[in-house]
Amino acid sequence: MSKDVFVVMEQRDGEIQKVGIELLGQASKLAQDLGEKVVAVLFGYQIKAQAQKCIAYGADKVLVVDDKELEEYLTEPYALALTQIIREEEPEIVLYGASSIGRDLAPRVSARIRTGLTADCTGLAIDPETKLLQMTRPAFGGNIMATILCKNHRPQMATVRPGVMKALEKDESRTGEIVEKTIDFSQDTHGVKIRKVAKEEKKTVDITEAKVLVSGGRGIGSAAFFQELGKLAEVLGGEVASSRACVDAGWIDKSRQVGQTGKTVRPDLYLACGISGAIQHVAGMEGSDFIIAINKNDTAPIFDVADVGVVGDVKAIVPKLTEAIKKVKEEKAAK
């Protein structure tokens, strides 16, 4: 009989990644609805010390595999270890972060144990009657949402988008069980070797690829203000874009221009700063998922397409907003 909600923790350089902590928060809710426990699965090298952190964030039990083979992520050693644990422990649910690692590992494991896997979930819930895990995810380029079930195979597995689930408040006083597992890595016959690991250098910008765009229009007043927009973009993990007016004024490079004569963008977040929203501009950005507009003029057409519109002075708001976001992020990181 399968039981418990497992979370595959993600670590890089021996540090637990945020997405795993978020998953522990969600797993706690699911486990509560099932009347079961939250189990963190922690792989890495010299990682044991992190087990307590999993407990503080909601794990009732931590299964640790501490082995040199698991120091840097490679598919097969991780898949071997996880498959063995799933077979031994028979979890009801296994959750992974929908990160590069989770999305590489989870399908491999799902195929090995022949169970279902739902990718990139944004919502997880337990059906009160059937006790099945309802896994909700966007599909069709985000145009529709689908709720997926895995009725007859166990565990029910899902990868979950980072940033979607809420972590619990850290509670150092929580207690839980820490169990060490050993895995026989000699079964790894894949022979994939790491030649080099390197932190990524910054690549050239393509605003059509950016998830977040902070875009400036004539209302920002000067080329210099793009530096402020740049700082805001940086704290939001995005890029700076522009309306045509600023490009024509020579304030910014043409490659950043959004609109009829520039590029068409569909970021998750489009922050229009001092952009009036001429039809030529709107044509290039109205497909954005979420649009925030700041403009002095309350009749600016940009407000017609904005999800959130703020009538105000962009030059006063932007620097304060950047600082406020920084502060919030620091607070979140400190938790």
Partner: protein, 266 residues
């Protein structure tokens, strides 16, 4: 080296729009395209073949309905040597696990040294089929390939992209790579290629009958799929936005901050 690229024909989701009245997807007139990551995979395979210049071949494989024929022809017109369409009513309703099981059987039938799949399809975004095929074939995988080259002794060297770092990995064939669309900018079909795709080359069919010795009927189609869609719904249509007027700068900042937080941007 026999390079096999798995491709999927997908609706161009950037062309899909929501009907503002019924709040349903407008699928009519949405063009079908080769999934972009898969197309980068085709380009990579063609470049590897050209660089190796040793009689290596590029085979493209797709699973889907008959209409997927045109996607395979496109790959042939880009320069692929041969194409297979895995198609059978028995395969309908397959989820990623069943799909990968069927494609893996097709690949066993066709033969391969290096398998390339796209990272993920734009209509499903699951990124599962590639790694699952590798598992069914019992070969190593490297997903998120951003650069690939093959060394003189046949070692496959891949630059793998993660969020904050990359790995340079090496492995021997047979193996599987999942391609990011950044891997290579796909070439266009050539004019002669378009004609050759129909006049000189063919798309070979693989049906259940052709693959039955390699398949367990309980693992394919709807009944071989552990997951199923319980319900689907469109996101709430965009209503009119919220407009804040007459706020002080600090209040405006707070309002934006709250929205950003609510939408998980921070």
């Amino acid at each position: 080296m026999k390079i096999v690229v798995c491709i999927k024909q997908v609706p161009d989701t950037t062309e899909v729009k929501l009907d503002p009245v019924t709040n349903t997807l407008i699928r009519d007139g949405v063009p079908s395209i080769i999934n972009p990551d898969d197309k980068a995979g085709i380009e990579t395979a063609l470049q590897l073949k050209e660089t190796l210049n040793d009689g290596s071949t590029v085979t493209v494989v797709s699973m889907g309905p008959f209409q997927a024929d045109v996607a395979l022809r496109e790959a042939l017109a880009m320069g692929a040597d041969e194409a297979y369409l895995i198609s059978d009513r028995a395969f309908g309703g397959s989820d990623t696990l069943a799909t990968s099981t069927i494609i893996a059987a097709g690949l066993k039938k066709i033969g391969f040294d290096l398998v390339i799949t796209g990272r993920q399809a734009i209509d499903g975004d699951t990124a599962q089929v590639g790694p699952q095929i590798a598992e069914h074939l019992g070969i190593p995988q490297v997903s998120y390939a951003e650069e690939v080259h093959i060394e003189a002794d046949g070692t496959v060297v891949v630059k793998r992209q993660f969020e904050d770092r990359y790995h340079i990995l090496e492995m021997k064939t047979p193996c599987l790579i999942t391609a990011l669309s950044e891997l290579a900018k796909p070439r266009y079909m050539s004019v002669a290629g378009c004609f050759d795709a129909y006049r000189e080359k063919e798309v070979k069919m693989l049906t259940y009958e052709d693959l039955k010795d390699l398949l367990d009927p309980s693992q394919i189609g709807l009944k071989g799929s552990p997951t199923n869609v319980y319900k689907s719904f469109t996101k709430q249509a965009k209503g009119a936005g919220t407009i804040y007027k007459d706020l002080s700068t600090d209040d405006a900042v707070a309002a934006i901050l709250a929205k950003l937080d609510e939408r998980h941007f921070i």
